[in-house]
């Protein structure tokens, strides 16, 4: 018995040894590359060729918008067209890659614009891998001539996604509060524009004060706070019809509204008799639910992407801090424990981060942290930086920044800025006048 066991044990050991030897020799040499360069990828965006009339002009404009989008993301570096050896080619023609690779170009975009009739154009593009000498993606779109800019954004998203692996955010819009006039008589209007600042439009006339606009998940509605007839109330603005609707009738002041991820609820603060609590209102049946009940000020609520949690800020602990609770208002827990005060928490679209405003030692900061409060990182700072909003891919934040007042102490500039979450690249968004309280839309429906 013992002999048999010994024999079996010996055979197992021998077999294991043989397998090990075979395994070791089964593979070729393996070399691990665990370092690289995180830097903008050099791309060439050739002017889209046109067949007739203004198509050449539109082609050039589309190329320019794509180039601005990609470079503005901080992940790409556009090579100047003056350096191109070969002329732009049609997307159906395979480029001569040896004309492009010496310029250090890794990816090439070629495209064309065709006039179908006076009102419609057909835009086609192709993305080439110059090093692997292969095409990566191609697309053909037929749109109204006036919508060429949006086509450029859609193409930008396709290129961005194919080269970075992340979703794009170029075909989106920004709603914000446009400010004008002196500080003591400030006119604040709702305005909307493309994410790059183009296609700017005012939504309200400035006859009443507006604050904190937020997009619905469909990007077709905006909820905001308006001081209509000096009564602060939450309203909903329909972008298709242009109609405004008062959201319910409450005894006190309602503010800081935000849509739930499904769009069927609005979560907001209601102040009454000096106490501010968080409420939700069902848009289908107008039912109101109270989520918090304390003697403190609970405000700036924001849902998690899966709608299971809510973050908000509250002074219930003595100073303004960020708290988290279940969607039904239970299990309230503080998550911010750094120095200073915390406000305006916003949950990232993918749920992995929370953006916030921080106030510490007479300075304001924009930062991010994990939903459990860990890993706090500050991305931007200034005399006043506030109101972060996420791009739909969760890689870029937009906020407004106010400079320190000069001379008379009254005149000051308030502008919109965006920054990627690495904090390396801060870009100002050009607006016709001052701007504050931006809100980034989800990806626009096709």
């Amino acid at each position: 018995m013992t002999k048999t066991l010994n024999q079996i044990l010996f055979n197992i050991l021998a077999l294991t040894f043989c397998l090990y030897i075979n395994d070791v020799n089964a593979d070729d040499i393996r070399i691990k590359i665990n370092s690289g360069q995180v830097e903008p990828l050099p791309v060439a965006i050739a002017d889209f060729t046109g067949n007739e009339g203004n198509s050449n002009q539109i082609g050039r404009q589309i190329s320019e918008v794509i180039s601005n989008n990609l470079v503005g993301s901080g992940q790409f570096k556009a090579v100047e067209s003056a350096a191109f050896i070969a002329p732009p080619t049609s997307p159906s023609v395979r480029p001569n890659f040896t004309d492009w690779s010496p310029l250090g170009i890794k990816a090439l975009v070629t495209g064309s614009v065709k006039n179908i009739n006076n009102e419609e154009i057909e835009v086609e593009f192709r993305l080439w891998d110059v090093i692997a000498e292969t095409d990566l993606i191609g697309l053909r779109l037929t749109v109204a001539s006036k919508a060429w800019r949006r086509v450029a954004h859609i193409i930008s998203d396709e290129i961005f996604e194919r080269l970075s692996g992340d979703s794009g955010y170029f075909d989106t819009r920004i709603v914000y509060v446009s400010e004008s006039g002196p500080q003591n008589k400030r006119v604040k209007r709702l305005a909307i524009m493309d994410q790059d600042g183009e296609n700017h439009q005012y939504l309200t006339d400035g006859s009443f004060l507006v604050l904190t606009p937020r997009f619905s998940p469909t990007s077709q509605e905006i909820t905001y706070l308006a001081y209509f007839k000096n009564e602060p109330r939450v309203y909903i603005f329909n972008l298709e019809t242009g109609q405004q609707e008062l959201l319910g009738s409450f005894p006190g002041m309602t503010f800081a509204p935000r849509f739930s991820p499904s769009g069927d609820k609005i979560i907001m603060s209601l102040a009454e008799k000096g106490i501010t609590d968080i409420y939700t209102m069902n848009l289908n049946n107008q039912e109101v639910e109270r989520l918090t009940n304390s003697n403190s000020i609970d405000t700036s609520p924001s849902y998690s992407p899966d709608a299971s949690k809510i973050i908000f800020n509250s002074d219930r602990g003595g100073s303004q801090q960020i708290y988290i609770m279940d969607a039904n208002g239970k299990n309230i827990k503080r998550i911010s424990f750094g120095e200073g005060r915390y406000a305006t928490p916003v949950w990232a679209p993918k749920g992995e981060l929370i953006a916030f405003t921080k106030m510490h030692k007479n300075k304001f900061y924009i930062g991010v942290m994990a939903p459990d409060g860990s890993g706090e990182r500050l991305l931007a700072e200034g005399y006043l930086v506030e109101g972060p909003t996420w791009a739909p891919n969760g890689r870029v934040l937009m906020y407004f920044k106010q400079d320190r007042p000069v001379d008379d102490g009254k005149s000051t500039n308030v502008n919109l800025y965006k920054i990627d979450i690495t904090g390396f690249r801060e870009t100002r968004i050009i607006t016709p006048s001052d701007g504050s309280d931006p809100a980034w839309s989800p990806m626009l429906p096709n």
Binding site: R30, K106, D129, L163, G165, R395
Partner: protein
């Protein structure tokens, strides 16, 4: 005072006892010598025949015989027996022969400790002739015949049984050893070949050789910070020419490449890095080792950015 003395003595005694029982070097008791007792039980009367019978011991191993005889003499020292008849002498001679043979075999079975015994006895062997010369024939101890027969049978049976068992055990052990050695030889052959093959590939490649290639490719691997979302390793199968130029780059996990947009973008970036870094700085004289090899691109480093 008295009490402490008693306690001290008691403790000392207990320590000495523990040392005596516990330490093998102090306690000198050798149980291995037991088989010799079997020989002691044999009828001693036959020894007298040595005086008269023919000497058959020439062919045998003298040393071993002497050991047995010496012990017989020293332990028993019987009185000289009266001279027996020829028939009895022949009969007893034969019996003695048999017993001696058995004894010799038993001695052979004994293990290494015997060697020590032999060494000790060697000088006594010299005295053997003297003993024989000086000794008078021993007394014959008469035992009932039945008892004698039984004793002989039992003794022979026991020894033979033991011998047969030992033989069988020896055979099995030998077989096992042969099997093991054969298997080991086979494994050694395999291992030897494999090691040789491995040696051909690995021993010649130094860490510097690998580092040079790593550092070269690293310069060309350009990644988006979006890669920090997922820590993945992308293996690429590379074939090169002897001048270091990259012949082909194949992405291993085609399914993941088609399914996962992040994997696809990162794998494309890795492929560009390899193609862009061509020709690779292959170590001189070792180019053949890199005709086929694998590069594992690991994106985890981006987390540190």
């Amino acid at each position: 005072m008295v009490n402490s003395t008693i306690i001290s003595i008691g403790l000392h005694i207990s320590i000495i006892m523990i040392a005596y029982i516990g330490m093998p070097s102090i306690k000198t008791k050798d149980p291995i010598e037991q088989p010799i007792d079997i020989v002691d039980d044999t009828p001693i009367s036959s020894q007298t025949s040595l005086k008269f019978g023919p000497s058959n011991e020439k062919e045998e191993d003298k040393n071993k015989k002497d050991v047995v005889k010496e012990e017989k003499i020293t332990k028993l020292s019987p009185p000289p027996p009266p001279p027996p008849s020829k028939e009895i002498i022949d009969k007893k001679n034969n019996e003695l022969k048999k017993q001696q043979e058995i004894k010799e075999i038993a001695e052979l079975i004994k293990k290494k400790p015997k060697l020590n015994v032999e060494k000790k006895i060697v000088p006594k062997v010299v005295t053997k002739p003297n003993i024989i010369k000086s000794s008078t024939p021993p007394k014959t101890v008469t035992k009932p015949e039945q008892i004698q027969k039984k004793q002989k049978q039992n003794l022979a049976k026991g020894l033979l049984n033991t011998l047969s068992e030992v033989k069988n055990q020896n055979n099995e052990r030998k077989k096992e050893e042969v099997n093991k050695t054969e298997l080991l030889n086979k494994i050694k052959k395999m291992a030897g070949n494999s090691n040789r093959r491995a040696d051909e590939k690995e021993i010649k490649l130094s860490i510097t050789d690998i580092n040079v290639i790593q550092n070269h490719i690293t310069k060309f691997w350009k990644l988006s910070y979006a890669a920090s979302e997922v820590d993945i390793i992308i293996p690429l199968k590379i074939t090169t020419n002897t001048d270091g130029s990259v012949n082909s780059v194949n992405i291993y996990d085609k399914a993941e490449y088609l399914k996962n947009k992040f994997y696809r973008a990162t794998a494309d970036a890795a492929r560009r890095a390899v193609l862009d870094s061509s020709p690779l700085p292959l170590p001189k004289g070792k180019e053949k080792k890199f005709q086929n090899f694998i590069l594992d691109f690991d994106t985890s480093f981006i987390n540190s950015y």
